[in-house]
């Protein structure tokens, strides 16, 4: 028994080394890079978002917001979110500069006071708008923010996927690891499993309703996040994507934030 096992193991190891000539880490990083490269070049986009917050009893509340995003060469994306409800939050706007390395920059515009406040971006693990999405789940995903390990090839909903483990570099992340199920053909995530700091499976995100824009950029219109520990869930519906609106730096600064509406 022992010998046989060892034989199988050694053979498998040699075979994989021969085929890939790549460690699991290298292969994982290569997949993450390919996902990033294929999505690069969209320049900018806008999208309307409705977020449905559901508790265990099935009560539901909707939150509406609008998002615009711009790619930045050599760094993370810039993004602005404007909230349309509830009443006391309406008109509040959130500006963020994602960075490949170091903390992101974030400002809030508070319309009642007409005040712009730079806020701490270290709240990665905190809930976004009381949803099951943490701030780090909705931030622009930069390759440099994780280390990777290729786990296996698998099938999900009839499609061939790579299962790729991503480990957050930032100790302030709420996750010990994240398993991403990447479509082998299109290099887009179909399912993401989040593990908390204790290594327990906390949440699962499923991305459905993918459509391609500009013949190239795949966007899911439904993001469903289920929290297995609380029984709560959040569904994000993304509507009215527009690409290449000709945004510039001046659409994503504190001055334009003060005019957000």
């Amino acid at each position: 028994m022992f010998k046989l096992n060892k034989f199988v193991f050694v053979t498998a190891f040699l075979a994989s080394a021969y085929v890939g000539a790549q460690s699991a880490e290298e292969r994982g990083l290569a997949i993450a890079r390919e996902v990033d490269v294929r999505d690069a070049g969209f320049q900018d986009a806008t999208v309307d978002i409705t977020m449905y917050l559901r508790d265990k009893q099935g009560n539901e509340r909707a939150r509406n917001m609008r998002n615009k995003i711009m790619e930045v060469e050599g760094d993370g994306d810039k993004s602005m979110i404007i909230f349309d409800n509830p009443g006391d939050v309406k008109g509040t706007a959130f500006l963020s500069f994602t960075h490949k390395e170091g903390p992101d920059d974030q400002w809030l515009f508070l319309p009642a006071l007409k005040r712009i406040k730079k806020i701490s971006s270290s709240n990665k693990a905190g809930a976004f708008m009381n949803s099951e999405f943490a701030f780090e789940d909705i931030a622009s995903q930069e390759v440099e923010k994780y280390t990777y390990r290729f786990l296996r090839e698998d099938e999900f909903e009839g499609r061939k996927v790579f299962v790729n483990e991503s480990d957050p570099v930032d100790p302030k992340s709420g996750y010990s690891k994240i398993d991403v199920f990447v479509d082998q053909e299109r290099y887009i995530p179909l399912k993401v499993e989040f593990y908390d700091r204790g290594g327990r499976h906390k949440k699962t995100l499923t991305l459905t309703g993918y459509q391609s824009y500009l013949d190239k950029y795949w966007r899911a219109n439904t993001w469903t996040m289920e929290n297995h520990q609380t029984g709560k869930s959040t569904v994000l519906k993304m509507n009215n994507w527009t690409f290449r609106n000709g945004f510039s730096e001046s659409d994503f600064n504190k001055n334009s934030l003060s005019r957000a509406k």
Binding site: K118, S120, S122, N123, A127, S250, R259
Partner: protein, 416 residues
């Protein structure tokens, strides 16, 4: 419940609002035909309960008021022009002075290639600290709404700004000075002596003096900073006692008259954002014409424990030290004080929040407490509770006159 005088007041104000709206709608339908605008606002019912007996004759123990706020934007199709309107009004059943209406904003904005222009009434916020707002000098405080100096009256202005690689530069021309308004005889939170309607000014042009201001602001890595200069009528008056033979409402025949000096004020605001720490500072250098130069500063930090103890909630702590070298008539309430604040945000579906604050004078025995609670009842209804307590006040200080004015305020708002 409301007096007939009050109803006349409301009728007049509604007439005024209708006229203003008519002008705006005429402008907007002429210049912005293609795009529908969007509005938002609230109506609110509020009551204030004062649990100590009033110190001065005629003052209320409790009041009820109704308030409304409405804001409207309209952009043109190219997105390079906007008109905006923001109206606020309150009707109070006891204090006629507190029944007031204000155009918070009413302006036209246009973006050009190299610069942007705002013309009209606006609200501008400058600064980074929480307990006092030293560098924030463009708008007059609306003291009738709140003592905290965060509610402002609309200020007429011409503003030109330009965004450069090295920062944002803004120029302001400010015609039309707005006086501070104070509670009437029936109102609480006022000094013992009545304040006469007519104010005195250092400038010969009185409230027609045209003020100006300039500001540079920039941000990079952990830093957000601004330098500003203001020249014109000081927003904060000081008071001289005056005597009139035939007396005022009180027996003594003595009243207070506001005096607005001309000042040049330079300001610096700085914030460093490092992890969950916000390190903040504001400093001003103030030159009053014919008097001399004074300075004031506020220095402190804000720290937040996110998702405290595995909950959804965040606990924020604010510590700020306030210092001001003006003395005598010009002395400010924050001349040598320490402010401590804590904010607990539940991050629940109803946005529940508790904010507690204590302000301790380090020279005198004065201490002030404030607690605010708020939560939504539904997505459009919100309930706010606010308690303000002047727990200690030495008898030669301004706060001594407010020593019996502790109050609880309950406000219910409906957003639309």
């Amino acid at each position: 419940m409301f007096s007939s005088k009050f109803l006349v007041f409301i009728k007049n104000r509604i007439f005024l609002v209708n006229r203003v709206l008519l002008v705006i709608l005429t402008i907007s339908s002429a210049s912005f035909p293609a795009f529908a605008g969007e509005g938002r606002g609230y109506i609110a019912a509020q009551t204030r309960l004062f649990w100590h007996d009033a110190l001065y004759a005629g003052q209320e123990q409790q009041n009820i008021s109704l308030a409304g706020w409405y804001e409207y934007f309209q952009d043109n199709e190219d997105g390079d022009q906007r008109i905006a309107l923001s109206l606020f009004g309150r009707a109070d059943n006891e204090d006629d002075e507190r029944s007031h209406m204000d155009i918070r904003e009413l302006y036209w904005w246009k973006g050009f290639n190299e610069f942007e222009l705002y013309a009209g009434v606006r609200k501008i916020f400058w600064g980074v600290t929480e307990s006092v707002h030293l560098v924030d000098v463009i708008n007059q405080d609306d003291l009738l709404e709140n003592l905290d100096g965060e509610e402002k009256l609309g200020q007429p202005m011409l503003q030109v700004l330009t965004q450069r690689d090295w920062g944002l530069v803004e120029f302001f021309v400010l015609p039309g000075f707005r006086e501070k308004s104070y509670p009437g005889v029936a109102g609480r939170l006022r000094p013992g002596l009545p304040i006469v309607e007519e104010a005195r000014y250092q400038s010969r042009r009185k409230d027609k003096h045209i003020d100006w201001a300039v500001r540079w602001s920039h941000y990079f890595s952990i830093w957000d900073m601004s330098l500003s200069h203001f020249s014109g009528t000081h927003r904060d008056p000081y008071f001289f006692p005056i005597v009139e033979e035939n007396g005022f409402d009180n027996d003594s025949g003595v009243a207070l008259q506001a005096y607005y000096p001309q000042v040049d004020q330079s300001g610096l605001a700085l914030q460093a954002t490092v992890d969950a720490w916000l390190l903040k500072m504001e400093a001003i250098s103030l030159k009053e014409r014919d008097v001399g130069r004074n300075s004031a500063a506020v220095l402190g930090f804000e720290y937040t424990w996110f998702t405290l103890a595995g909950s959804n909630g965040d606990l924020g702590l604010v510590v700020e030290y306030q210092w001001d070298d003006r003395r005598g008539l010009r002395e400010s309430l924050s001349q040598n004080d320490l402010a401590l604040g804590a904010r607990w945000a539940f991050n629940d579906l109803d946005g529940s929040e508790v904010l507690a604050l204590v302000n301790q004078d380090l020279e005198k025995d004065n201490r002030f407490f404030s607690v605010e609670l708020s939560r939504r009842l539904t997505d459009n209804w919100k309930l706010e509770l606010e308690a303000r307590i002047f727990s200690q006040a030495e008898n030669d200080t301004f706060e001594y006159q407010l020593r019996n004015d502790d109050y609880l305020q309950v406000e219910l708002r409906r957003y639309f």
